[in-house]
């Protein structure tokens, strides 16, 4: 499954959820859905905006883990 490491990157950049939501331009509720691994899909535009705001690469945020590892 795909795991979102958004909280790790936010902690590294010392950025709050509010701040990121403002920079990315998506609602706090949607960002929470993404952070809590409840999202079913993510748009390229959102991913692009998050990577731009957190100054990171896609693989820093998205990670593939085998079901047995969780």
């Amino acid at each position: 499954m795909i795991v979102i490491n958004l909280d790790v990157m936010m902690a590294k950049r010392k950025m709050s959820l509010n701040e990121l939501s403002e920079k990315v331009g998506i609602t706090l509720a949607n960002l929470s859905v993404l952070k809590n691994n409840k999202a079913k899909a993510i748009r390229f535009s959102t991913l692009d905006a998050i990577c731009h705001a957190l100054e990171c690469r896609v693989e820093d945020i998205l990670e593939y883990r085998k079901e047995t590892e969780i």
Binding site: I26, N30, A39, K40, A41, R43
Partner: protein, 155 residues
């Protein structure tokens, strides 16, 4: 937007009027049935043992009113959900399902009533058609609810 709002209010009023109508008919059903039978000049079998034909018709008519009442209450719930813009929720799908089952139940009851009043068979067919249409609507709504959920969880 205003037309949609007015249409929802109009439907809500109609459903409430229908509910009042069902309750009113339930109150005067014996009187109505008796008057209709007298006017039509129908001769009914008197009771030898058990229920008379008049009583059987009355029981059947009251049984017909029950699914109608349940369907109308489900319709009111559905309209309230629609006003709150919660049409694609499991609750609304359950309401549609209840209404469709009530229609199918009415089909069976009107088919039984056709032993006394043959024209009831037409109402039974109409109820079956509406019930089947609503089952299709339920399936469509289920698919739409799944799509909405997926869309809501797309960030």
């Amino acid at each position: 937007m205003k037309t949609k709002h007015l249409s929802a209010i109009f439907s809500l009023i109609l459903a409430t009027v229908l509910l009042a109508g069902i309750l009113a008919v339930a109150c005067v059903l014996p009187l109505l049935t008796e008057s209709y039978l007298n006017l039509s000049g129908r001769w009914l079998e008197p009771a030898e043992h058990g229920l008379s034909d008049f009583q059987k018709i009355l029981v059947l008519l009251y049984t017909i009113l029950l699914p109608a009442l349940i369907a109308d209450l489900a319709l009111l719930r559905l309209l309230v959900s629609a006003r709150r813009e919660q049409v694609f929720e499991p609750r609304s799908i359950r309401c549609i399902s209840i209404i469709s089952w009530c229609c199918i139940g009415e089909t069976a009851l009107f088919a039984l009533l056709s032993f006394y009043f043959p024209f009831s068979l037409l109402i039974a067919f109409a109820a079956l058609f509406v019930g089947l249409c609503l089952r299709v609507v339920r399936h469509v709504l289920e698919t739409a609810a799944d799509l909405k959920k997926e869309n809501d969880l797309t960030v």
